[in-house]
Amino acid sequence: MSSEFTWSAEQVELRRTVRAFAAQLSPQEEVRRLMASPLGHDPAVWSRLGEELGVLGLATDEEYDGVGDGLVSQAVVIAELGRALVCGPLLGSIILGATVLGGLNDKAARAELLPGLVAGRTSAALAAPLHRGGFDPTAVTVTATVRHSASSPGGTSSPGGTATAEHTLRGSVTHVLDGAAADLLLVAAAIGGGDGDGDGYTIGLFAVNADAAGLVRQSTPTMDLTRRQATVSFNDVPARLLAAAPQAAAVLATTAETAAVLLAAEQVGAAQYLLDLSVEYARTRLQFGRPIGSFQAVKHLCADMLVLVEQARSVAYHGARALDEGTDDPRIAASLAQSVCSKAFTQVAAMAVQVHGGIGFTWKHPAHLYLKRAYTDAALFGSADAHQERLAQLVLDEAGTS
């Protein structure tokens, strides 16, 4: 019998624990306080999630201080974090950073960089174009140049001392999630010059320390105040090569799929919260002497929200399991999850405002926080349309010609 859509006792407990943690340490007043703060999150709470609860490294190998449980468990946790809009560098450090590092062949780099991320002690950001629903090498805006200084000047060399060449990065990347405060920047860059083949360049993946010379980070105001972005400029910044071609592009493509699925879990968790909130309001808000939920127009709105949330849940966890266990083409599973969940969350958020009426459009009501999260999430790793285009290629174009 299929184990898809069954939950282990540990996963049920995980969900309960994280929900209780979020209720205690990230109530909505706290979210509102943090979204107005310069950093945007509370590092102490973030590291408690990592070190005390151990829920940031569920998909990371035990060798690197993770739990090695897989993406389904991580998705369970992310859904709960999304439900409560818990502030922290989830996208940069975990959904992107830990995924990129976990995919590297470079064991030394993994051992050096992963434990801090999953413990919540350090944070990371990824500067790579994933916003079209996959890694798009043609949209890379950073170039790497080999610096031919024979002896390693230190600072960015790998601890193994095996670096054969130093690189410097030049270029600028917009919309770097959690980029302003990250301790570690992971950067996709085109390695040009003499060693280019094919189109004249290959893609490399680099690590840049927060204190590297020539690194300029400009925090950009965001619609969703609980999620931070930065424009990151590299002005001949020394960088350490983590992966060269073809590994770098492969790791980034896999990261795009994982991110699509994990973000889908967040979308499900947040949409579920809006459904719960709306149903509760429909049940208790009285007009014409009766609960507004007794009016078919409102009741059916809630029913449609339920349908959207349940379908989103199905594809999100299908995606997580497909990536964990290879039960489906990961490209299809990831695009299915993002396509369905982005639409579901944005629609549910808009419908939640409708159920609430005027109060749902006020600053003090939570609906707008989720509405902004919904539209932001839908744009992060490829729009629903972009993923549908990928599905058209995979399901119709490729299959149709066979």
């Binding site: 898809e4 149903v279 939920g293 809630c302 029913a303 349908v307 379908q311 594809v315 369905v340």
Partner: protein, 462 residues
């Protein structure tokens, strides 16, 4: 339905079920030489019809969870699908008889029900009581050792083929509406039973109107106590198909397969807009399929969650959009139609095992074989029936989704059913909206009906 914990005794039971199933197949030999009734009769006699029924009544007295073990072996061995063979009988009447009928009645009825030698229908809906089933007004009046029934039923699937029917009738017009109902089984050949086919927009007639005029029913054919009809009806509705091992649907099966087939076979009709539209439909079909799969898994683990309630709503809307796509893709070809002159239900002919969907389907992917008929094929392709009852809401059954409508009229026909389905989903919102007084009434789209009132048309078949 509780799923027993794994354990040694269950393993023994499973082994017994599997051995019994293999023995049935050995006894049948070449499945091509056995009639449907012979094959299913052998299954019944071996206790593999409903393994949780008592021995001698089609069962082995084992946990219902073991039915899947039997079904897997028997289906692989060529057993005709008993549900497709007699859907109302096997899906609904069987479990209801099991729960509420005396031994004599069960001994007489269960076997021919399972073999399909006696088809069953369900006399629930009325012209004035559809979604609001409890508002029905067909009367059953005590007369000596029996009852006399007068009224009109409608949307009665398979009534024209049925030997027996499940009947819900009002026995006490003075009680509040749910409480005045009593449940009977009716001999469809009894005097006073008149079946009139209800021709659908597709030209076919799967449904019927049934007029009951002075029909006598022996009291022995009453199921449950007088006034307990609603509770018995709930057993019927909750038990649909649950005794039959559900099987998972694979990707690209069901209605979306028609659109994919059409896309694959007709590159000359491709356009960028259609391509994106089909990708969108495929995505929706996957979300629908996976949610159904999740509901299926949930049913084996415990009480179904809300995911179990959304199948009909989503499925009906999706099917409509898929055939809408097919019509648009086909263009003028879609305006042709096979024939309106064949009102016979596909089920009237013996349905080979598992072939029901195919037979009725006339695959849209076969335009080359049926030149000029592709549109008709689309229109006549039977959308998958959605027989799952929405939690606490009988509308899912009393208004079966229309089955072969031409896409152009599909919108009109299914609008009502869609509203019912959405109300059913709303009703499944756990302990929320519907808890409040008045909300249930609203979900059914109207004011509460006065107890026992007869609708204008009831009992006055035109």
């Amino acid at each position: 339905m509780p799923w027993p914990a794994a354990g040694t005794s269950q393993d023994d039971d499973r082994g017994r079920v599997e051995r019994t199933a293999r023995a049935v197949l050995d006894g049948i030999g070449d499945p091509a030489t056995a009639t449907t009734a012979e094959f299913l009769g052998a299954c019944y006699d071996a206790g593999l019809a409903w393994v949780h029924f008592p021995v001698g009544f089609g069962g082995l007295g084992l946990p219902a969870g073991l039915q899947a073990a039997a079904d897997a072996i028997l289906a692989a061995g060529g057993r005709p699908d008993p549900f497709l063979n007699n859907p109302i009988g096997v899906g609904m009447a069987g479990p209801t008889l099991h729960g509420h009928a005396g031994e004599e009645l069960r001994a007489k009825l269960l076997r021919p029900l399972y073999t399909g030698e006696q088809m069953w229908a369900q006399l629930f809906s009325e012209p004035g009581a559809g979604s609001d089933l409890a508002g029905l007004s067909t009367r059953a009046v005590r007369d000596g050792d029996g009852w006399v029934v007068d009224g009109q039923k409608v949307w009665t699937s398979l009534a024209h083929l049925a030997s027996w029917a499940l009947l819900l009738a009002r026995t006490d017009p003075d009680l509040p509406k749910h409480r005045g109902l009593t449940y009977f089984i009716v001999d469809m050949h009894a005097p006073g039973v008149e079946v009139r086919p209800l021709r659908q927009a597709t030209g076919q007639a799967e449904f019927n109107e049934v007029c009951l005029t002075g029909v006598r029913i022996p009291d022995a054919q009453r199921l449950g106590d007088v006034g307990q009809g609603w509770n018995v009806a709930m057993t019927t509705l909750m038990n649909e198909r649950s005794a039959i091992g559900d099987s998972a649907l694979g990707r690209d099966s069901g209605t979306i397969a028609d659109a994919l087939g059409l896309w694959r076979d007709r590159p000359d009709l491709h356009s960028p807009a259609l391509r994106l539209r089909l990708a969108d439909l495929w995505t929706q079909a996957e979300a629908y399929r996976l949610t159904g799969e999740r509901a299926r898994v949930a049913r084996t683990a415990g009480p179904p969650g809300p995911e179990a309630s959304i199948g009909k709503l989503v499925g009906a809307e999706l099917n409509q959009k898929i055939y809408d796509f097919c019509m648009d893709m086909l263009g003028p070809e879609g305006t042709l139609y096979d024939s309106y002159d064949d009102p016979a239900d596909a089920l009237a002919a013996p349905v080979p095992a598992g072939a029901g969907e195919h037979d009725r389907g006339r695959n849209v992917a076969d335009p080359a074989q049926r030149p000029g008929r592709a549109g008709a094929s689309v229109a006549r392709r039977r959308p998958r029936r959605h027989r799952k009852t929405l939690a606490g809401h009988p509308a899912g059954l009393t208004h079966p989704a229309p089955t072969h409508p031409a896409p152009a009229v599909h919108d009109q026909i299914s609008a009502r059913s869609r509203q019912s389905a959405r109300a059913g989903v709303a009703a499944s919102l756990p302990e929320r909206c519907r808890e409040r007084a008045g909300s249930d009434r609203c979900a059914h789209g109207g004011r509460p009906r006065r107890t026992g009132t007869r609708s204008g048309r009831s009992g006055e078949p035109s």
